[in-house]
Subunit: 502 residues, 2 copies
């Protein structure tokens, strides 16, 4: 390892440490901060972002990257990839003026607070001026990054979350997928056979749900000495650095097993964060996630491919019965399997089933693309949301709280983020086919509560590489194929056709 | 207001904001951080302290202070005081090399973690090397500050917490006070009459204690929209800035009303923090506490002078009965008053009664003075603690967990901090005499749950001034007298003599 690289890592570690502190401030804002702390929290985020950004774009880092590039021969393939990704980050960061970063950080923090209140009181007008502000700043950010030749403003934002992806590419994947999903959803929803929802309306105290969630986390391999689980309005996962990865979930739901979906989803993110080699490489791209799409593949895999499978519930049902006794004492495995695999058109993305979920994402992709281009003014968002929702999911949205106010993302300027959810579902299904070939007894292992082999496989094939490979390359290496919609569609068809008798 | 002052405040606000972030990291470490996060938390504190210190000692701040001093005529008395205190802080800060500040921050964070584990497993040897390290760094810090003429190393540390105080002055106050307290404690403990401890052994679930604590906080005027209450091994209060002041308490005690003492103690600190004019002056000395002694006067006042009074319990007992029903349904006001005013020699400082408490402080003052001078080697601390404890409090210490490992302070390098607890008791008693003249119906107000007049008096006479007056000057202004041991001794005598029939 060259001295330039070692020096570079030292600088980058400081930048990452400042980022970890900022994440803690964000986590605290969502979990424990008292309401009146919002103003000073925004000041803190603004100052910290400014300091972090100044460090991130320091000429010293630029010089050290150049030195590493010049003496590239001295580095092995892994370190070459690390330098390649540092170059990408540095070039992107240096395009953003410090003032914009500071203003964004402060506005995001305040806007997120405004969103929280607007959502609680179902009042879009309260949030609209903040969304306007955040979108303006986000547009400025996109302009600083620069629009790729032949592309659009949206691409500059998307690239931050899914390096190299463009709106046109996403559209090319989404359009045919939407047709296939809509057709599947229509067949399932129109079928006279409906699997019974035996769990519906069975609620148990929050403490029991929390204890059950913790036992599942432990079993599937989320390390609770190096993490924790809290409650928030909108579940999320934050990885702060070595030894500290935090999940949140929510318990205010209509059935006693539903919260486990959020918990397992965030645990999937958390297991990825804990599987990254932060102990040795924190601060470098080698200890960071490939892309949001790959990150989401991990969360959706644990949430759905594991968490809605017969194998998983063979083990988990007796555990749930122990925690919830006597609430679900009488339920059979088949009843629970049918119950956690209900397909229906509904309002809330994070509560949507596997078949309808991606339609929710496609709605947001279309809307945010138009918000950023300016084709859709903020004031028209609720009406347009409701109109397109009706077209896509056939329901009349009854309130903005279950409509365009339901997600935190836009309040935070996270535009270009939503499509990565569907990419995640596609990657997850494709990885899952490969995993099932590598671990032929996977279903049996899950039924016995043995999640170690699955976690180790993910650690070995996906987590440990950090950003060494870009998403497409990783998919090709892991599955031998480029990303395809087939594995997801095959999985959905083969699972839901028998349940719904279609 | 001059431009130089405005510019100076802007700089200082950033320094204070970085300090607030550091406090949040500290709060999180004690409340919610997972165990394996300790290493990266130390890195975060080290980096943040370095950045904050570099800002604090920046030549720009020095120049702006000089400009303000040169154009002093343009400032009113309050702003002159603000500049005077900024000068003090700047001169102290510039004496510390950045490397020392960074090393201290990192070592404190790790050492605190080591203390936590050592205390839990009652293993002094586990903590000793960390204490050694922290003491060495603390000594270095004191040397940087410089020993005042005719003084000792300890003075340099004490001055940080209680500006202008010296070990010799403290000794001059403590020595006669110790004799009077020891004599009082002996008379009380030797008396054949003992007030019955009707509460002893009555425990209630933690959630009930927490709900009761919250109701009391609300009633006495701690603003829970701008603060919160959590649980930690060692109770503390952290003021992070405008709108965010956090208290912690603990519930693992032998009686159901005991935790309220910690809660009210920290609330006293919290009400002071919330009473400082942070909304307008955050970052300047005008929004900061005078000294730790004055801070402690507020916590001890709410804990003891309010929280162990007949007036308070006239209101609070029915509230407690409602929360704890049926555990204390049958208790009378006089039984509870006697129960919360038990005097006995015991091991734990934070659980000690008002009569013995200051003896615990004096023990620590003597020991830490010898630790810093080097007269007492770390390895001899447990033995020396136990020996002096026996002399002062007549008990054989049964384990280090209830001996020299009980307090967090030294793990954090907080040497010179303990004596401010007794100064706080003295100030509290002296203020209390003045308050009772100003609010002749105070006892009646408390009995009716009306704590507003007391809180407003404290806001008006103490809190709102920030650091405008030094402790001694504030005491003289508020009470018309210099600090004296008489009010405390009169209070203790008049309260405990009837209870113990002496």
């Amino acid at each position: 390892m060259s001295k330039a690289y070692t020096d570079l890592v030292k600088e980058q570690k400081d930048v990452a440490t400042l980022g970890a502190i900022g994440s803690l401030l964000g986590w605290d804002q969502e979990t424990y901060m008292p309401p009146d702390g919002a103003g000073s929290r925004a000041d803190q985020q603004e100052l910290l972002s400014t300091i972090a950004h100044q460090r991130r774009i320091s000429p010293r880092i630029g010089t050290l990257i150049e030195e590493c590039e010049a003496s590239n021969g001295a580095l092995d393939e892994t370190l070459k990839a690390s330098v390649r990704e540092m170059r990408r980050d540095y070039d992107l960061a240096t395009k953003l003026p410090v003032e914009l970063v500071a203003e964004l950080a402060k506005t995001q923090s305040l806007s997120q607070d405004a969103w929280k209140h607007a959502r609680a009181s179902d009042n879009f007008a309260m949030f609209a001026p903040w969304l306007e502000k955040v979108l303006n700043l986000t547009r400025k950010k996109a302009q600083c990054y620069g629009v790729p030749a032949g592309g659009e403003l949206y691409d500059a934002l998307l690239d931050e979350y899914e390096p190299g992806a463009t709106a046109v590419q996403i559209e090319a994947i989404f359009t045919p997928l939407q047709a296939r999903l809509s057709s599947l959803v229509a067949r399932l929803c129109d079928s006279p056979k409906k699997p019974a929802d035996a769990l519906k309306g069975i609620v148990v105290p929050q403490e029991q749900q929390h204890a059950f969630g913790l036992e599942v986390l432990k079993a599937i391999g989320f390390d609770l000495s190096a993490g924790r689980l809290d409650t928030t309005a909108h579940p999320f996962c934050s990885g702060f650095g070595p030894g500290d990865t935090r999940l949140t979930t929510r318990y205010n739901t209509s059935s006693c097993l539903e919260p486990l979906s959020s918990t397992m989803h965030e645990a999937g993110h958390g297991i990825y964060e804990q599987g990254l080699p932060k102990a040795t490489d924190f601060g470098t791209p080698l200890a960071e996630a490939v892309s949001l799409g790959i990150h989401e593949s991990q969360s959706r895999m644990w949430e759905n491919l594991v968490g809605r499978s017969r194998g998983f519930w063979t083990w988990a049902l007796p555990v749930a019965k122990r925690h919830f006794a006597p609430a679900i004492d009488g339920l059979t495995l088949e009843q629970v399997y049918a119950s956690v695999n209900q397909v229906q058109r509904s309002f809330i993305r994070v509560e949507a089933d596997e078949a309808t979920y991606n339609l929710h994402v496609m709605l947001r992709f279309g809307l945010e693309r138009d918000l950023i281009s300016g084709a859709l003014p903020v004031k028209d968002l609720p009406g347009e949301w409701n109109k397109r929702f009706k077209q896509l999911l056939g329901l009349d949205v009854t309130s903005d709280r279950v409509g365009c106010l339901q997600d935190v993302h836009w309040s935070f300027g996270l535009v270009g983020y939503f499509p990565t959810y569907t990419l995640g579902n596609l990657y997850a299904a494709q990885f899952w086919q490969t995993i099932n070939k590598a671990l032929p007894d996977l279903n049996g292992q899950m039924a016995r509560g043995e999640f170690g082999p699955l976690k180790s496989w993910l650690n070995e094939h996906i987590h440990k590489h950090g950003r060494r490979y870009r998403a497409g390359e990783l998919c090709q290496r892991v599955t031998g194929q480029p990303l395809s919609p087939e594995p997801l569609m095959e999985y959905l068809e083969s699972k839901y056709a028998p349940l719904y008798g279609v």
